[in-house]
Each structure stands twice: as C-alpha cells, then as structure tokens.
C-alpha cells in the first residue's frame, strides 16, 4: 500500500470511529432516559425505517435531487453571465452588487411562499427557489476571479495587440475557473437546502409522496419519527453527493495546474 492510500485509510477509519461513538452515545441516551420512540427513535429503528421504506426515500431523493440540480445548473449559467457583465463594467457592478448581496441575506423562507404564488406549486417553483439561493455565491466568486487578473498579464496581452474577446476568453475566463469552482462548491450544498425549503411550502400532488422536504413534513405530522430521521439521513447524503461531484469536477479540471488541487494532492501524500 502506498503511504497516500494508507493515510486516506486512517482518515476514513477516524471518521468511522467518530460515527460509531455517536451512535453508541445516541443509544445510551435512549436507554438511560427511557426516551419514547416518537421523541427519539433508536439508531436501529432509523436504519430499519431506511431499509423498509427505501423505495419511498429513493423517490423523494430523486425529486429533490432533480429540483436541486436544475436550480444549481441554472444558477451556474446565470451566475457566470452576470459575472461577465460585472467584470466588463465597473459601473454596472457598483450599481447592482448591493442587490446581489440582498439575494444572499433575504431569508429564503420569507420569499418561498411568494415564488410559489408566482410560479405555481410544483417542482418548477422549488427549482426556482434552489436557483435563487445558489446564485449569490456563484456571482461573488466568479466576478472576483474575473477581475483579479494580474495587471501585467493584461499588459502582456495588450503588447500583442490582443482583442477584448481574446483577453476575456484566453485570460480572464480561465483565470476565473478556480473561483467559479469555489462558488459552485458553496452553491452545491445550499441548492439542496433551497429545494428542501421550497418543498416545505410547495406540498405535493399525491398524499405522502413528494421530495425530501415534503416527506419530512409529512412524517413529522404522522409522528413517524424513525422515518423522519431516515429522511434526514437521505438529505445529508444527497447534499454530500452534490458537494463531492463538484469537488471531483474541480480536481479533474484543475489538478494539472492549480494550487488548490496541488495542496489536496500534497495533503494526501504526506
């Protein structure tokens, strides 16, 4: 085994140990305080609910996953376009930047009912909510990447009589890719939260069947706490999956040249 692989195995083992310790603590708390299952189900009950109702959970994950993915992809596309405009014109940037910030600070819970009213209940409005919540980090990071190009690199391009589009496509855009990925990493996690929040309001066309947010709401009203916990677990796994997909893409596109990918390599090798 290479030293790198050994190191990774140690990381995984450590994380697994923490997980096991938490499970034991959880079980012990239930025994000592005689907690009712509807208040806090045992880890075993949660696992059982996860397996027994796997089909329903999978459906919920699929629905929420699709809504989050649609919102995330749209936020990346729109975010990059807005960033290009922001990078092009300092005037527009200064005028609209505060409102981009507003996008991030307005509580999504407050605007979710409005979106539902405007777009109509269903997956489309949930995707729109995921889109809104994911947009700001993409814009902030990509804009920063586009405008933080070293002045002498721009001068170098000018010395070769480069056109504005050459400076954009051969210099600013590639330079912004690492920042874009940083924005995408943040957006990937919160897009799932956005879709989840949207579903709390959006409801579902069929009773008991919908995305994760809807299903959790349903489980809590039915006092099916073990199912609720299983759904929370599924939500966390979905968020992780999104995050790691972006991290993988980041590594794939940047590991040849960028410092962040290099640091990750160095860490796993040490």
């Amino acid at each position: 085994m290479t030293p790198g692989a050994k190191q990774r195995l140690v990381y995984v083992a450590n994380a697994a140990a923490v997980f096991a310790a938490l499970l034991i603590l959880w079980q012990v708390v239930i025994w000592i305080f005689r907690v009712q299952p509807f208040m806090l189900p045992s880890p075993w009950a949660v696992a059982k609910a996860f397996v027994d109702r796997f089909a329903a959970i999978l459906t919920a994950v699929e629905i929420t996953g699709e809504e989050s993915a649609a919102g995330l992809v749209a936020s990346i596309a729109a975010g990059v376009l807005v960033s290009l405009v922001f990078a092009k014109s300092r005037w527009v940037r200064r005028m609209l930047y505060p409102y981009t910030l507003l996008l991030q600070t307005v509580p999504i819970i407050a605007i979710a009912p409005l979106i539902l009213m405007w777009v109509g209940a269903g997956t489309a409005s949930v995707a729109v909510i995921a889109f809104i919540i994911s947009l700001a980090p993409v814009i902030f990071n990509t804009t920063q990447g586009l405008i933080s190009v070293d002045e002498n690199l721009v001068n170098l391009f000018l010395m070769h009589n480069a056109s504005p589009s050459q400076i954009l496509f051969k210099l600013r855009l590639p330079h912004a890719v690492p920042s874009l990925f940083t924005g995408m990493r943040i957006a990937s996690g919160i897009s799932v939260i956005g879709a989840f929040t949207g579903e709390l309001y959006a409801g579902s066309s069929r009773v008991g069947e919908g995305g994760l947010g809807y299903s959790i709401l349903y489980a809590s009203t039915q006092l099916q706490t073990d199912y609720l916990f299983a759904l929370v677990l599924a939500t966390a796994i979905l968020g992780f999956a999104f995050f790691f997909l972006v991290v993988f893409l980041e590594w794939y596109f940047l590991h040849n040249w960028h410092e962040s990918a290099r640091v990750a390599e160095a860490e796993s090798d040490s």
């Binding site: 070293d150 002498n152 690199l153 001068n155 170098l156 391009f157 000018l158 010395m159 070769h160 009589n161 480069a162 050459q166 051969k170 210099l171 590639p174 330079h175 890719v177 040849n256 040249w257 960028h258 410092e259 290099r262």
Partner: protein, 264 residues
Amino acid sequence: MTTGHSVPMVEIEGVAKRYGNGQPVLGGISLSVAKGEFVSLIGPSGCGKSTVLKLISGLTQPTSGSIRVDGMAPRDAREIVSYIFQDATLLPWRTVEQNVALGLELESVAKPTRAEKTAAALDLVGLAHVAKSYPRQLSGGMKMRVSIARALTTSPRLLLMDEPFAALDEMSRDRLNEEILRLQAEQKWTAVFVTHSVAEAIFLSTRIVVLAPNPGRIRAEFAVDLPRPRTAALRDRAEFDALEVKVSHALRAALVPESAAVPP
C-alpha cells in the same frame, strides 16, 4: 531596412508623466537609444524607471513630450517590441510550450509556423525537455527563461525588460545575464533594461543611465566600453570594478536631493 541607420530605435524627447493629479513621476527626460544598443536604466525606487518602459511600450501615455519607436508611435510599434516583466507572468493553466506560443497565437500566426517558432525558442533557452510541463513544476529561473522564450518568438527588434531577474538568486541571475548577452549577439535586438543591480547593468549594457527620483530625471550616463562578447570572466577585470565604483557613486548621489547637495 527602409528606416536606415539614422533612425534611433527609441527617441524620447522632453517626456514628463504624472498619474492623475499626483506628483509627477517623470519630470522631463530625453533619451535616445540607437539600434543595437543595450541601455540599462538604474536608479532608486520612485525614479520612474519602470514608467519609462511603460511609455516606450505605449501602455501608458506621456503627460507631455514625445516618444517614437523606430520612427513610429509606441502603440503602432508593438509588433517589433517585446516586454519582459519582473514576474515571469506565465499562464498557469497552459503548458510551457503553450505559454511560449501565446504571443504568436494572439497575433494569429498559422499553427505550423507557431509550432516551429515555439520549438526554436525553447531550444534557444534550453527548455525543450520541459515543453509539456506546467509552470508550477518549474523553478523561478526556468520560469523566467520561458518568459524570455515567449518574448523572442515574435522576433522583436526591441526588448523592454523590467527587472526581469530581481526575484532570482545570484547564481541564476548571473547565468541568465550571460544567456541574454548570447541571445542579443545572435539576434541583434535593441534592449532597454531596468535594474537595481549595478553589476548586472555593467555586465549587460553598452550604456548605463542613472535616474534620480522626485520627479524622475536623468542624473548621469556612463558608456560601458568593455569588450564583447562578454563572459563571466569579465566580472573579475579591474575596469569592471572601477566602473562599478563610479556608477555606485552616481547612484548614491541620485538619492541626495540636489538642493541639499549644494554646500552652504
């Protein structure tokens, strides 16, 4: 050449420069650089030596005075000018050969010619073996060589260099100094070179111009009448040391405001 020998490569006449409403950076300098010359600009920080290069390249415009490059306005002369910056200014997402090809690519040179010239430039600086590497895999000295190769691919007639070796250790710097002289002997371009190092200026130049700060102006000029081709052995000669003393003295004098230098 239609321009003939009489047209200087660089002609600066009474050029002053200030940014916005600030203090003037350059307070009226005149300097003529003949074709084939290697002129070093040396001076304390704030004397505007980098600004002189920016003006010659047309990256910034003079507040007053005129600049001609091979008889043209600086912006129109860019095809015959290459600029080497203090940092290697390589694009980290491109391999060494893609970096070297950048200038040709931006000037829309056909691909086969581009590949040929890139390979030749890499050979010239002895980096053919790292053509497929990324900049992060190279040492500081090697990165600078890539930068030099990139500057040479477009066959410049004038090379502007802004402290290109300032960040390197002394050994790499000396080696690159020798390489620059070899390249100039082969390709016969004209050079305007900004440096902080007196020894480097003497080793490379045919002429040294000492600038004084606040505002930047020419304080002294020294012709360097040392034989060419120059080798590392030149640094051990008595004339080299004597000139180093003279230039260092002028440099120290440039730091003293003229009014204070006048005895009471």
